[in-house]
Symmetry: C2
Subunit: 89 residues, 2 copies
């Protein structure tokens, strides 16, 4: 939960997730989309991976990243709970 919200806190990482929603991408393809060096993107990808928001698989010299949504259910539940439950007065 902590790792998850930590990962979602950064705009670059949120943008990466949005990109991966459309299609799987290699680290290089992701890096191209940002005005930022490859190591910086690598850092963000690692953080997303730790939060289990993305998975990575290596094919040759390329590493392809995919969005993983399972862990998002948790945050969704947490937020929904906050919204839906009426005050106990």
């Amino acid at each position: 939960m902590n790792l998850l919200f930590k990962a979602l806190r950064d705009p670059t990482r949120r943008r990466i997730l949005e990109m991966l929603k459309e299609r799987d991408l290699t680290a290089g393809q992701i890096a191209e989309a940002f005005a930022m060096t490859a190591p910086s993107i690598s850092y963000h990808l690692d953080l997303l991976k730790h939060a289990q928001l993305v998975s990575a698989r290596k094919k040759g010299q390329f590493v392809t990243y995919s969005l993983e949504t399972t862990v998002l259910d948790e945050s969704l539940g947490w937020i929904l709970d906050l919204i839906k439950k009426g005050k106990k007065k």
Copy 2:
């Protein structure tokens, strides 16, 4: 969106929101629940207020905080979108 996720990133602030889900509380009551000084809690409350996750009203010397859920819809939509939309292959 940025302020919102920033606010949700911290465990103390998330706990405060959970507490306010149950009932409105004064700054002092909130501070009591944490092993942290009142100024620190004040800092967190200010951040939550900026993110529009709480509202505050003053009554005498006391300031009572309430949960505000409207802004959460935005984050909910963002997360749902990520979860539900299938890849465009």
